[in-house]
């Protein structure tokens, strides 16, 4: 089941190669990656560097929306990544440093140092409506 779910997320994660290069400090107009969690939270990822490239440190903006399309505020987000085929992680430890707008989170310290398959684990801790605290992890795989 877990692998089915994982494959679903892999499939649902789409890498959109954008023609326009976003400047540092500005994020791409369209998400470069997008994934939906099992509980219906959509994570849209916007990047200062689009298309993604190796060896350049940059920031991402993560926009979280619930199944009704409303932004998810006050979420805690942790991201770890790596290259399963090379048995190592990312060269940096990216962190969310700010919720810049409701449901929009600034993720600083992104850098990839090899071409190939990357796998990111994103752990979300949040509440929607009157529900209890929800903790779930979603995966995104993409190729650089």
């Amino acid at each position: 089941m877990a692998s089915l779910l994982f494959n679903f997320f892999r499939l649902s994660a789409c890498l959109l190669l954008l023609g326009a290069q976003a400047a540092i400090g500005q994020f791409s107009e369209e998400p470069i990656l997008s994934v939906q969690t099992s509980k219906g939270i959509t994570v849209d990822i916007y990047s200062e560097i689009a298309p993604l490239d190796i060896n350049r440190i940059h920031s991402w903006q993560l926009r979280l929306t619930d199944a009704q399309g409303s932004p998810v505020s006050n979420a805690q987000i942790e991201l770890v990544g790596g290259m399963p085929e090379h048995d190592h992680g990312m060269p940096t430890q990216p962190q969310i440093t700010d919720e810049t707008e409701t449901g929009s989170y600034l993720l600083e310290g992104m850098r990839f140092h090899m071409p190939g398959k990357w796998l990111l684990d994103i752990q979300l801790t949040y509440t929607v409506g009157t529900e209890d605290l929800i903790v779930e992890t979603t995966k995104i795989e993409f190729e650089l």
Binding site: I54, N55, E108, G109, P115
Partner: protein, 421 residues
Amino acid sequence: MTKKLLFPLILCAAAGLAFLVWSYVPLLTDNSWDNTDIRLIKSLSLSALPELAKDPSNSIGDLESAAEFGQALFFDQRLSGNGAVACASCHKPELSFTDGLELATGTAIGPRHTPSLLGISYSPWFYWDGRKDSQWSQALAPLEAGHEHNTDRATVAQLISQDKGYRNRYESIFGPLPGALPNVSATPLGKEAQVEQWDNLATIIQVQINTVFTNVGKALAAYQRKIVPGRSRFDDFADSLSPTSSEETNSILSSAEIAGLSLFIDKGQCASCHNGPLFTNHEFHNTGVMAIRGELPPMARYDGVRIARLDPFNCLGEYSDAQSNECTELRFARDENELVGAQKTPTLRNVSETAPYMHGGQIKTLNEVVRHYNDAPTSMLSHNEAKPLGLRPFEIKQLEAFLMTLTAPLATASKWLSPPE
């Protein structure tokens, strides 16, 4: 009897011949590249090298007058305890800013091999273990290292203050020097007597000395930002490559070199780390290199990142010109166990001129380096990220041939490659 021996002899000869063919006869290779190959090869060309970004921690990094000041300092042997060692003693321009030695030898034999400086300003980290997060901060450490320049910051500040030419250059770039700097040998990192002298100085004097010392590092960095590789035969090949490459393109490199390039990006997995136009990802990897003779295997980047964080001359420190939000590499640097034994990926530009190789100069030739990666031995500490490649002997030769195509005269103007007049 003769007949009995004949069959095994023929069998042995056939097996021997088959082995020789397997080892030394190149396969007939197809020189066509798919779009992914072409994209990757073009990403390695110097044409893809972006303009060198400003170093926010060094506000004078791109000033021509600072580079000229730095050039004078780089070649000045007075910046050493015995008056005989300059930066250029180990970073020799004619050897792509290396020294040809196993271990760097300044005032004494040091613990590490001298790295090349070609394009190193593009790196966010310095030293084999990344213990420094800027080029100016890096430049300070050898001055005070006992086996390198073996001088101290107070003596360096005194030289800048007393040498009329240096004083003028310094003040035109950084503003007035402090009124009276003490004529002592003092540093917090030196021998007991030097540390004692340092501790006896008033804090304001310590800050003044540190400021002059820092600015010396910033000028040295401004100079080193000029040191960039030149276009090689590989770059011409990469730039002219297309899905239907002409014979003209294919004549830029020999068939062995082209086969080596194919191995470099594919079976050899070299481009996993030696990527981008400088053939380095500026990162740290454990590749199972033997420890330096007589030494325990080093913790390398695992310790290096911790040293960088504690360094008063880092990007977040009081001597840096950067805002804290500009110090992203330092703020988000990784420090996990997998960095144990991980050394920095060096550039492969002009690699044929920078032997011997690895952090301790342990491997003498490029052929041996390729064979090391082919074997991927177990790491003495932590794990080797590389896996055995299964290259045949002729493929090792082809990879070596390709690596030789990365050598070219520097793009740096010749006036920077010798002591200033």
